[in-house]
């Protein structure tokens, strides 16, 4: 099955160290996850902008067992939901404070994009210093 362009574009961004947000070329509003038609104005004229990569951690968890197939070797790992300052949200992986330890994270922490893990087509975030 061919990967849709909006998926391959987003992943190409991650691979080059950029977090891309879909942006509507007509109404100018950002969309995440990317859509096939703008949910705000229904335009199909959609493009990308580079996110500043900074936001707030709405919630997160540390999965310690029961990984889906293909993720078993990642355990334990932390998944979070980030509200980006641009006004859109996405699911991410979180970098541990120390191996296997995410105890310094709290809801509403400021977090920033750091890239992606090898083989994982999702953004990775970490706690923002200060």
């Amino acid at each position: 099955m061919t990967t849709p362009t909006i998926v391959s574009d987003f992943r190409a961004g991650l691979a080059s160290g950029e977090l891309l947000i879909q942006n509507c070329n007509d109404c100018g509003k950002p969309n995440m996850w990317p859509r096939y038609a703008c949910p705000h104005c229904q335009s199909e004229n959609l493009g990308w902008v580079k996110s500043a990569g900074v936001g707030t951690l709405h919630s997160f968890c540390v999965l310690r067992q029961g990984a889906p197939e293909g993720f078993e070797d990642d355990l334990p790992y932390a998944i979070g939901v980030v509200k980006l300052d641009e006004g859109v949200q996405l699911g991410v992986r979180l970098v541990p404070n120390a191996p296997g330890d995410w105890s310094q994270y709290n809801c509403d922490d400021r977090v920033e994009f750091v890239g992606k893990e090898p083989g994982r087509e999702c953004a990775t975030f970490t706690r923002k210093a200060g």
């Binding site: 919630s59 310690r64 939901v81 699911g91």
Partner: protein
């Protein structure tokens, strides 16, 4: 949104749809019990409880199973019509599906079909084989429900991770302690200990045991995660006129419903500690004229404790932020001020996939028909709040049900 949410069927009118019977078999691990066998059993129990024979059923609404595509196809393609011997007379048989909230939507579907005359006697059927399924297959399958494969599956998210994130956000927003969260599970277990059909009928549970169990997905301990189970249940609805013709004197009607689909995947939810409950509740109160103080008990989706505490706050059963402490104070317990999930819920009666919500609805109907076993029957109960949610808690669905006396 200016249009009022009004039911176009009058209480007690000839076309007012009513619940008249339920059927259920024990929930747990029953590898020897077949999928279709479970369905046949609960269908016949519900039909008998309604005072009917299979030939009386003209419409079957199927609640899906999630354990396998072949069994699901059997449901979609009307196998139960043949199994019940009503082929040639049954008018229609089809599936309704919105995950954990399916039973709420199936009720709306049956209600509409009966009120408008598309159906006379509707049988709603559910069966699931999660307890006997391969666990790793189930985890992988469940990492695709309410999770966009291209965007979110790459994080390694699955159902316990979703429940854990909601729990963490809820604990952060409410200041609830781990012990207060665990008390929700204890309340459910107290009810399960009164339900012979519950997976944990014979096993008590304490807050201390929960907090000592291993961490599965911080902040969720193992005993705070739903046990996957085999189970099946069913109910029958008909019109008030048909019920009266059959000499039925007491039934259960729908006073109103409300719903809100607040997201598809959890990452797009605006506030994980709120979800769609306040909007769903407002619509249900408007349609029924009730408020939260009018119910005698509630049966609200509980695949994780926070799912229920968020719901009772949105419904106004307790003050915002006080849901877990409401349970810790014992208000949902047997003998409490608002008995909650009186079958033991998904967390203690057993999580039968889409069937967990159906089992809560069936328990609500059974209580209102005054047919629950004595030890857990809520004396003379008249009104219930039923709450459901599907997928990654994508929706909040509220059914307000009331016992009704059918005149001569």
């Amino acid at each position: 949104m200016s249009e009022k949410w009004q039911l176009h069927v009058a209480p007690g009118a000839a076309n007012d749809p009513v619940f008249i019977g339920v059927g259920e078999i024990p929930t747990g691990k029953f590898p020897e019990r077949g999928f279709i066998q479970q369905l046949s059993k609960v269908a016949l129990l519900a039909i008998k409880d309604a005072g009917m024979v299979p030939r009386d059923i003209d419409t079957i609404l199927l609640i899906p199973c999630l354990h396998g595509a072949a069994d699901q196809a059997d449901l979609v393609f009307s196998r139960m019509v043949e199994e019940l011997g009503i082929h040639g007379s049954c008018k229609s048989s089809y599936m309704v599906h919105s995950g954990g909230s399916t039973s709420d939507n199936a009720t709306r579907a049956a209600h509409g079909l009966i009120a408008t005359g598309h159906a006379h006697n509707v049988l709603v059927l559910q069966s699931e084989r999660w307890g006997s399924a391969d666990l790793s297959e189930m985890i992988t399958m469940l990492s695709k429900n309410g999770i966009p494969g291209e965007w979110e599956l790459p994080t390694g998210i699955q159902f316990n991770a979703i429940g854990a994130m909601i729990t963490r956000r809820y604990m952060h927003a409410s200041g609830s302690t781990p012990a207060e969260m665990a008390s929700v599970c204890v309340t459910l277990r107290n009810w399960a200990n009164l339900n012979e059909n519950a997976m944990y009928y014979t096993k008590p549970l304490t807050v201390e045991q929960i907090l000592a169990s291993r961490m599965v997905a911080d902040p969720l301990h193992a005993y705070e995660c739903p046990p996957m189970a085999d189970g099946a249940c069913a109910f029958v609805m008909t019109s008030t006129a048909n019920a009266k013709k059959r000499g039925i004197t007491n039934a259960v009607r729908v006073a109103g419903t409300g719903g809100c689909v607040s997201h598809y995947c959890l990452s797009q939810e605006a506030d994980q500690a709120v979800l769609g409950w306040p909007v769903a509740a407002e619509r249900a109160w408007e349609q029924s004229g009730w408020g939260p103080q009018d119910a005698n008990f509630a049966e609200i989706y509980d695949s994780y404790a926070a799912v229920t505490t968020i719901a009772i706050e949105g419904l106004g059963i307790c003050a915002k932020g006080e849901g877990a402490r409401w349970f810790a104070e014992g208000h949902g317990n047997p003998g409490g001020k608002l008995p909650m999930n009186t079958n033991g819920g998904l967390l203690s009666a057993g999580h039968t996939g889409v069937g967990g919500g159906t089992a809560l609805l069936v328990e609500g109907i059974r209580q209102l028909l005054h047919r629950a076993p004595d030890k857990r029957q809520i004396e003379n109960c008249q009104r219930a709040i039923i709450g459901g949610s599907g997928g990654s808690y994508m929706d909040a669905q509220v059914l307000l049900l009331e016992r009704t006396k059918l005149g001569a």
